[in-house]
């Protein structure tokens, strides 16, 4: 679940000045990247469709064809399932690129996920599972979330290997198959597959980070993701004795649910700030001159200024950064057209500010609804997420890659409002940084999970170079 960059315009991380021309892909590398991207977009890796293993095998084959030894390329089939998110026989891909001789340090873990969110052809203007190139974009489900990152990491490793690069520490890849649903793959990665992954020192997640440009081409900045909100799902359920629809009653499960949803729609959680978001807003306010900038300055000066936080939260570019947010995402109710409903429920998806207990949010939802007819339940047992400490080596490598490819783009630390596979690793003591190099035009390309998801064509190729540079810096020295 990728968070796409908030518009911003100031480097708050150490900028490294560089005047060197960015490396370029050869025509063969370019074509291989395109072919791999088209191939994986066209595989509908939605839960329940059993297609992730096919994609895992395809990506594994690309590694093997490039000379990665078969014994270090593992397709790991596993079952994913939960009562609410669906089931599938899926797979992860683990690749280990071993260091020459004695490794200098513990491995670096490169992360991503191969599954995508459901996309219904009738909701889209194009077939979501047939990649097309149009108006400077690649269209297709997964084009920014996140088959671009999968392809970029894979192609970067293939290119580096062909170019004779020899890592001085192991580079391990973990591409999971159920990040958008149950997250079983990353849990296994952080536990039973940890030996296979060589107990990495830290992780770089392509399902995070990334950059943006304003519609006029001005850089909005890139983010290095160091914290993320906790993902938690809740359900509002209403039961009723039902009956015949020719005799409507005052009590009706659907109306009770609709009323609860109206209350949720109007509610705002209390604003909160942490070190990452404070640094982020401090950077943002320096160039944000208008009312939004004023609100940021007011809020930084007085964290109890809830009105200022509300103004920030209402901005398209800052949604979710000032507090816990919950939103209704799914609805179900009734059993026949001509019967009063016996059951109605709504799924409520929450993104909880780091450090807040999801059980406390459940209690808050109960207070918001304050209707004994509406039962509030949790759909997972997720625990509050933790932040990863900023590492100078990762920060420097990320900043150099970004500023080589996109001179003038600022780099920010970021709290992601999404959740990702990083969480189980952070909980296990392995810091994870969302460090992808892809970019989009904000806000018009922010379509992850939505309709007509798309990626600027050049972003795909920039991302390959981005990962090549990152790996050279972090594993080549």
């Amino acid at each position: 679940m990728r968070y796409l960059l908030a518009a911003a315009a100031l480097a708050v991380l150490a900028a490294t000045s560089t005047s060197a021309a960015p490396p370029r892909l050869t025509p063969a590398e370019h074509d291989a990247t395109h072919a791999m991207f088209e191939h994986v977009i066209d595989i509908p890796t939605v839960i329940g469709r059993h297609n992730v293993p096919e994609m895992a095998q395809y990506v594994a084959d690309q590694f093997k064809a490039a000379g990665f030894p078969a014994e270090d390329v593992h397709v790991m089939p596993y079952h994913t399932g939960s009562a609410t998110q669906g089931e599938d026989d899926t797979a992860a891909l683990i690749v280990r690129w071993r260091a020459e001789g004695t490794p200098k340090a513990k491995p670096i873990l490169l992360m991503g996920h191969m599954d995508v969110v459901e996309a219904k052809p009738e909701d889209w203007s194009v077939d979501p599972f047939k990649m097309i190139e149009k108006d400077g974009y690649y269209y297709g489900r997964g084009s920014i979330d996140m088959k671009d990152g999968i392809v970029a990491i894979t192609q970067a490793m293939i290119d580096l290997k062909k170019a004779g690069f020899k890592p001085k520490r192991d580079i391990v890849v973990l591409f999971t198959g159920d990040e958008e649903t149950n997250g079983i793959g990353s849990k296994k990665g952080a536990t039973e597959w940890l030996d296979l992954l060589g107990h990495p020192e830290y992780g770089l997640n392509a399902d995070g980070g990334g950059g943006g440009f304003n519609p006029d081409g001005a850089p909005a900045g890139f983010t290095l993701q160091t914290a993320e909100k906790t993902y938690a799902d809740y359900t509002f359920t209403v039961h009723n004795r039902g009956g015949h629809s020719s005799k409507p009653r005052k009590d009706n499960a659907i109306y009770s649910l609709a009323h609860a949803l109206d209350k949720l729609e109007a509610y705002r959680f209390t604003p909160m700030m942490n070190e990452t978001t404070r640094a982020y807003f401090d950077g943002r306010q320096k160039t944000e001159k208008g009312p939004l900038g004023d609100a940021m300055r007011r809020w930084l000066a007085n964290p109890n200024d809830g009105e200022a936080a509300d103004i920030i939260e209402a901005s398209d570019s800052e949604v979710g950064l000032t507090r816990t947010r919950c939103v209704a995402t799914r609805l179900f109710g009734g059993h026949a057209n001509n019967a009063l409903p016996q059951l109605a429920w709504a799924r409520i998806n929450c993104r909880i500010f780091p450090g807040v207990d999801p059980n406390a949010v459940k209690a808050e939802l109960e207070r918001i609804v304050s209707d004994p007819e509406v039962q509030v339940t949790r759909e997972d047992d997720n625990v509050a997420s933790l932040a990863s400490p900023l590492r100078p080596d990762v920060t420097a490598a990320y900043t150099r890659a970004v500023q080589t490819l996109h001179p003038g783009s600022p780099v920010f630390p970021e709290m992601s409002t999404g959740a990702s596979d990083a969480r189980p690793f952070r909980v296990a003591g392995i810091p994870v940084y969302g460090a992808n190099g892809g970019w989009i035009t904000v806000p018009i390309d922010e379509r992850a999970h939505g309709r007509d998801e798309r990626l600027p064509v050049q972003s795909l190729y920039d991302d390959v170079v981005h990962w090549e540079m990152m790996l050279q810096d972090l594993a080549g020295k």
């Binding site: 679940m1 990728r2 968070y3 796409l4 969110v117 459901e118 996309a119 219904k120 909701d123 958008e180 004795r241 039902g242 009956g243 015949h244 629809s245 020719s246 005799k247 409507p248 009653r249 009706n252 659907i254 109306y255 649910l257 609709a258 009323h259 949803l261 109206d262 729609e265 209402a314 949604v319 979710g320 947010r325 939103v327 209704a328 995402t329 799914r330 609805l331 179900f332 109710g333 009734g334 059993h335 026949a336 057209n337 001509n338 019967a339 009063l340 409903p341 016996q342 109605a344 709504a346 799924r347 998806n349 993104r351 409002t417 922010e446 379509r447 992850a448 999970h449 939505g450 309709r451």
Partner: protein, 478 residues
Amino acid sequence: MKRAICLLFAAAVSTGAVAAVDPRTVPTQLPPAWQAKARAVFKQAIEIPSVHNRGQVPAVAKLLADQFRAAGIPDSDIHFMPYEALPGDQTEALIVRWRSPHATKKPMLILGHMDVVEAKRSDWKYDPFVFREEGGYFYGRGSSDMKNGDVGTTMAAVKLMSEGFKPDRDIIFFYSGDEETRGVGATLGSTKWRNLTDAEFGLNADGGCPSYDEQFRPLGCGISMAEKTFQTYFLTTHNPGGHSSRPRPDNAIYDLADALEKVRTYRFQPMQNEVTRAYFEERAKQEGNSPLGQEIRAWLANPNDGAAADAIEANPLEVGLTRTRCVATMLSGGHADNALPQSATATVNCRIFPGVQPPEVQAELQKLVGPNVEVKPDPEFIGVPTPASPLRPDVVAAVTAAIQKLDGPEMTVFPEMSTGASDGSFFRAQGIPVYDVDGSWGISPIDERAHGLDERIPVRAFYDDVVYWQMIYKALAG
């Protein structure tokens, strides 16, 4: 679609003349040997889950046909009529003709349906498709809507045949297989299959007529002669959607919730017609000086007295009788837990007052919810308003005699408008008057569970219904 049991406070409320005997404890008039036969067929019928799309209706048809065949109806007069209801739903109607050796009158048609509304095991206390007797009730989906009527009409005929009764007119039994969903069977039965079904009038076993209140006072028996038009609408909201970590100000689910809040509080214009006036005149007598009785009299005196109509409509006994009513019955929306919904849809089921055209109601709903909510009629079932059936003295006399023999003279019989729709509407539309007059009864409101949870019928009501139909056949075809 069974109409809910009609509710009526009998005159006894004011006179206090009726002894409060629990009708469930009164012995049935059906002999024990026939109780066992009827119960065995009922059990089999209930345990066939003849919900749409499950392909089980033909099994019910076979079960009923087997009873007729065993009683002596020749195969040439038993017709299995397969057809498609909802797209892909292969179902079947059963048409049986019990011939008169010396017919002197046009045939009489007996209507019923073999399909039932969906019932989910997880919603019910017990498996809805396992027949169960407990506490004086038979439980199971279809126990009151309307496998009771299927078995009652069939077993009454079987019993009369065994006793050598010869009708003086053909009695045609028509059991459809999609009354609860689409009504294709009744459409075909009233048109394409008319050579098999043509009759002077029809009696529909879909819906018990008498009822009692919880103090066991008889509430009367309404013969349904007119019915509201059934029409379902879909209310849909659309949105670009997006990632749920970044909620937008506009949201398809919230927009739909707002629309539903409007539907919840909206009230259509009150209306009266001849049947409902007759009904309310009877009710006014029974209610006497109760607040409800006064409101009814005020509304009868001045049909423009909207406040009186609202007060009547708000009474649980009279819901749906004063106007068009629409209610939300189903919901769906969104495509993933972690994505903002791109669309959300509510099913709104309307029961439209006779004479009002469904497109007028659609326009009214559209105006109510505003232009950002799409309002469309269910393309699977376009409601057609139907005329009221004329009051036939022979039918009223036969029903009254049978009901009062079983339920006592305090159980008054009167015309009413059904708030539900049934197969009868298709035949009414094609010129065959239909009267909804099953003889089974229940305690109101605790037994009103058609389409709902833990559907049930009092054991005695089921058995006495066989006796009721015997009396009806003898009175109208003997």
